[in-house]
Symmetry: C2
Subunit: 290 residues, 2 copies
């Protein structure tokens, strides 16, 4: 099976590499062409447009940053849709708007091309180790036919429902992640301000009902002043933007999620966008001292 | 060693029972005297005031609900302090104000009595199984001398620092718990409103970076409409009140913690106080439908 792969960033590159390792033949494209080199060395063919990727592939995987990037790859000048043939499959593994995802899928279905939305969690580490969680929306038969592809990149692979459901599931994930990051910052700052020893406090609270993945994995990095990105603040902020866009069409009241979005917006505005999400705590550095 | 035990509620009763099992001799008091019966059957002596408990004990353990309850037990009419002798130890395992805790400890130190603050987490289940986490503030030598008592009731026993530090550590725990409960409610409600299958969503998000103890342990109960209390909303609300009282003396900005307090206040006002904390999601039942 010929696989096309578009977007060789922090996540895309190791995901594409795992497809090659699993025995798939890859045609790759990246806006910054030099990023194709390691894949070409591993056996992939690099081409100079999404259209050419589509012309050479049965299934085209997209891993880019935001809704407008996916739209450009699909329908822009020299985009995939210029080279698509009926029966091909597009798998969008970016994290983008569920509503736009549904529209993109409808437009492609007019060309008799099925699109799956398949965003991931697990970060760069999960991408490298092939242990990502992948949440998939779209046609269930198309999902089944793509399972070997997903299994080369991830460990927990879940069919979430019709088109857009993968993206919606990812937003649930990000609602939780964002609030857990905010909670972690409040807890650690309270401990520090109250004169507690942060390591001792962390030890006793993280093992019980107050425990979270964030607390176990990122709080120790905060205590070491390590704010290097696993997952960047500006991407967490982007995902919260997608959440709040989706909330406009919903009836419910989500004040804590909206507060998290405002706080992450402040964090980006304060220049923290390229720190890892654990760097969110630095938003309060000046505030706490005033 | 003669142990006195005051407060035989959901937590106190099994904790006292574990002390008897570990071989300690107990004198017990409870405001509602009938609650003493199971302890008396197990070998404890029941008396009719905190003062009498103090007269018969080397170490007096207190497990009641709130700051004013502890104050009444210590310094009220027929309170402990009327029966205290120099060299005795008071261990307050209630969750109360850190600032008041320090004042109580100072007043007792004037009588040459050391007081440890030693609030717990782990719920009724942890109390019964003797697996509580116990965070202890006060004199370090007093802490060491009381370790056998703590070890009869808990598993993770941490010395947190000077008087009040146990209570402060508990507040950090509750800041995290409360926000994780709010996040869980937002995540599950978003999933439901977006038309996702809650079980599938929960499965994929709870295993990764979005995971929390709350999500693993309480979200399944929400999906089963089981709102029976492990830990009651009104106690989580009380702990958030203690947090917000403590914040008045701090410089930092804690908007998400304050929001959680407002939301839990609403939950209590809406009659949810005696549901388990997973019942917090029911606060939004009417809101989401309007």
């Amino acid at each position: 099976m010929q696989i096309g792969f578009i977007g060789l960033g922090i996540m895309g590159k190791p995901m594409a590499m795992n497809l090659i390792t699993a025995g798939f033949t890859l045609t790759v494209f990246n806006r910054t062409a030099t990023k194709c080199s390691p894949l070409v060395e591993a056996g992939a063919v690099a081409v100079s447009s999404p259209r050419e990727v589509a012309e050479r592939s049965d299934v085209i995987v997209i891993v880019v940053s935001d809704t407008t990037d996916v739209e450009a790859v699909l329908f822009g000048d020299e985009g995939i849709s210029a080279g698509l043939k009926p029966g091909q499959i597009v798998i969008d593994m970016s994290s983008i708007s569920p509503a736009e995802t549904e529209r993109f899928a409808t437009r492609l279905r007019d060309k008799r091309v099925e699109m799956l939305d398949a965003p991931v969690t697990g970060g760069e580490k999960g991408a490298i180790e092939g242990t990502l969680a992948i949440m998939v929306g779209g046609n269930p038969e198309t999902f089944t036919s793509c399972l070997p592809i997903f299994e080369a990149m991830g460990k927990t692979i879940v069919y979430a429902g019709q088109s857009g459901s993968g993206q919606k599931t990812k937003l649930v994930n990000q609602i939780l992640c964002a609030q857990h990051i905010v909670a972690m910052a409040d807890g650690l700052r309270f401990a520090r301000e109250a004169g507690l020893e942060p390591e001792t406090t962390l030890k006793v609270v993280s093992g019980g009902a107050a425990g979270s993945w964030m607390l176990s994995n990122l709080a120790p990095r905060i205590l070491e002043n390590d704010f290097a990105p696993g997952f960047r603040i500006r991407l967490q902020h982007k995902d919260l933007r997608l959440v709040c866009e989706a909330l406009k069409d919903m009836r419910g009241s989500y004040p804590a999620t909206e507060l998290a979005y405002r706080l992450f917006t402040e964090a980006v505005e304060n220049g923290l966008g390229d720190q890892g999400t654990q760097g969110f705590i630095n938003l309060f550095k000046d505030k706490d001292n005033n």
